[in-house]
């Protein structure tokens, strides 16, 4: 905790930390629509961005429009984001798909609350995990991150922007009401503490530029609109020029590249954190605020002699299977606590393939899963 380098400390909400992270990452555009429990992100952006050297803030008429404006800003060369919660996230799915197809980098923060529908506006849940992965229609690649505490809200927002820019894709950051509404002391990084990535812009004359051309990384360079590179952007399946096509070979090429550009960089994208996992018999796989309960429970289990460990998932999709497979060499039991009826546990079971026994703890009453609930299951072995 006591680091040498003196950093500025603030006592901030999770939602505030998201804003700090976004600004550090270079976000200059926020388009949004307020919704509990994400509204503080928008409110703080509304006061910060107009006074920021290059910041633009606009309140849109709904979440569909918010995401549209964010994509527009992204195409115009800005690092853009929006934040929302359950019902708004549902509305954003349409344009999330567009952002995938047009490969428009952007960050969408979803502060999860109880659902379905308007559900529990001020209570936490983790029910949007699979929606984040599969909510928009069609077979699409996407990156979904999560944050467990306030410091991580800042860090993961920076990483979300970095990944969005590096891979030209929308990145969803899932936090839950607890993390968003917890105030904690956090350290603001010094300049240079984080590598900041920005999209690669084309380096050839405009006439030779093909907006969706195959590249080594699978990520084509992207110029801002108005910079002399005139091209077509569409939500239709398109060829390398960006023109609509339904030719099977061109469609296949596009789809394969879009998936590959993310899948092949799993080592950069799949983030996890292990706590006392090296010799663990029982490993708790958790994310979001539940990972904090799990950390407490694992600590208590260790104190009473049970070899317990925690695998905290910071990336939810693409699912960090390698980090988990490593633990399966010695783990006999996997415990998956989630504030939903079992969404990540499906992924856990898929990767586990029957090797360890998987115990799920599910809570959908708008309450956090407590350390004692998790401890009880750990102690059962």
């Amino acid at each position: 905790m006591a680091r040498r380098k003196k950093k500025q400390e603030i006592f901030a909400l999770g939602n505030e930390a998201v804003v700090e992270g976004a600004l550090i990452a270079g976000c200059t555009f926020y388009g949004g629509y307020p919704i509990t429990p994400s509204s503080e992100i928008m409110e703080i952006m509304a006061s910060r961005l107009p006074a920021h050297e290059d910041g633009v803030f606009v309140q849109m008429e709904d979440e569909i429009a918010s995401m549209g404006a964010v994509i527009g800003a992204s195409l115009a060369g800005r690092k853009a984001m929006t934040a929302t919660s359950g019902p708004g996230f549902s509305l954003m799915q349409e344009h999330l798909g567009y952002a995938c197809m047009a490969e428009a980098p952007c960050v969408l923060v979803n502060v999860m609350r109880g659902g379905p529908s308007t559900g529990l506006p001020t209570s936490p849940a983790q029910g949007d995990v699979l929606q984040a992965r599969w909510g928009t229609h069609g077979d699409h690649p996407i990156i979904v991150l999560s944050a467990a505490d306030v410091q991580e809200c800042l860090e993961m927002t920076i990483k979300a922007f970095n990944m969005a820019e590096k891979y030209r894709t929308p990145v969803i950051l899932l936090i839950d009401e607890i993390t968003a509404h917890t105030r904690e002391k956090i350290e603001l990084p010094n300049p240079g503490d984080y590598e900041i990535h920005s999209r690669v812009v084309p380096s050839m004359p405009p006439e030779w530029y093909k907006p969706y051309e195959e590249t080594v990384r699978g990520v084509p360079p992207m110029p801002p609109i108005g910079s002399g590179y005139r091209f077509h952007v569409t939500g239709l399946t398109h060829d390398r020029n960006g023109y609509p096509t339904s030719r099977p070979d061109e469609v296949d090429e596009l789809m394969q590249r879009m998936h590959r550009k993310i899948d092949q960089f799993f080592y950069d994208i799949q983030l996890t954190e292990e706590t006392t996992c090296d010799d663990a018999d029982v490993v708790v796989v958790a994310y979001g605020s539940v990972a904090r309960s799990a950390e407490f429970a694992v600590q208590q289990a260790r104190e009473s002699g049970v070899k317990a460990g925690l695998l905290k998932l910071q990336t939810l999709f693409p699912y960090p299977r390698r980090a988990m497979e490593k633990l399966l060499a010695h783990a006999r039991t996997l415990v998956v606590p989630e504030m939903n009826m079992g969404q990540i546990s499906r992924e856990v079971k898929r990767v586990n393939m029957g090797r360890a026994s998987v115990r799920t703890i599910n809570r959908v009453d708008g309450q956090i899963i407590t350390p004692s609930e998790i401890l009880k299951v750990i102690m059962q072995g």
């Binding site: 905790m1 400390e9 603030i10 006592f11 509990t36 429990p37 506006p121 001020t122 505490d149 009401e177 607890i178 509404h181 917890t182 105030r183 904690e184 002391k185 605020s289 904090r292 309960s293 950390e295 407490f296 600590q299 956090i368 407590t370 350390p371």
Partner: protein
């Protein structure tokens, strides 16, 4: 400055009615403990319709080490500024935990082991502004808690509050501190031992 007291997990709940300044109290104290005193602190609160007019709640978890679970579950200190809040949250008080009440409002404390002051009346009579009640409480708690330093907390409070209301709040803070010293005596023994056992 003396070495800060080692805390493992100290849980505080402020509770009462909407409009009593409960959330501000929690935020100011949380910021003071986190930034001024250097502890790790998590602050959570009740949200939504509950927070408008009805009951209001704000929790702090204070620790020298990393705080995993951010919510308060078993309280070391419960501050109840309404009878309903006192009834609702008293069961969460740890054995040996301390109950602080607004003695004019909480007429039927669930136990006779409590510390009480007429915070509202004090604010009204001696500060002249009833809204400063929460700062009177903050002053009192700063005396009561063995790990808070009056000067540090006051300074932190001054930094958090807008300039316009700073002077009034310093007055209220000092009043609370004085009154607590007079009526509460020294910090309860149960907190005196560094909870390391």
């Amino acid at each position: 400055m003396k070495q800060p007291m080692e805390l493992q997990r100290f849980e505080i709940r402020f509770s009462g009615l909407g409009g009593q300044g409960i959330i501000t109290l929690g935020k100011v104290m949380g910021a003071g403990l986190a930034l001024g005193h250097g502890y790790n602190v998590t602050q959570t609160q009740s949200y939504g319709p509950e927070a408008r007019g009805g009951s209001s709640r704000c929790d702090l978890v204070v620790s020298s080490g990393r705080i995993s679970f951010p919510k308060a579950e078993s309280l070391d200190l419960l501050v109840a500024l309404s009878q309903e809040a006192c009834n609702a949250y008293y069961p969460y008080l740890k054995p040996g935990g301390v109950l602080v009440i607004e003695s004019d409002i909480v007429k039927q404390p669930p136990t006779n082991h409590y510390l009480g002051l007429p915070f509202t009346q004090l604010a009204k009579d001696k500060v002249g502004i009833v809204q400063a009640m929460n700062t009177v409480v903050l002053g009192a708690l700063t005396h009561l808690l063995p790990f808070t330093v009056q000067r540090v907390m006051r300074k932190s409070m001054e930094e958090t509050l807008p300039a316009k209301i700073r002077a009034v709040n310093v007055k209220a803070f000092n009043l609370g501190h004085r009154e607590a010293k007079k009526h509460f005596g020294e910090s309860p023994e149960v907190w005196g031992v560094a909870p390391e056992e």
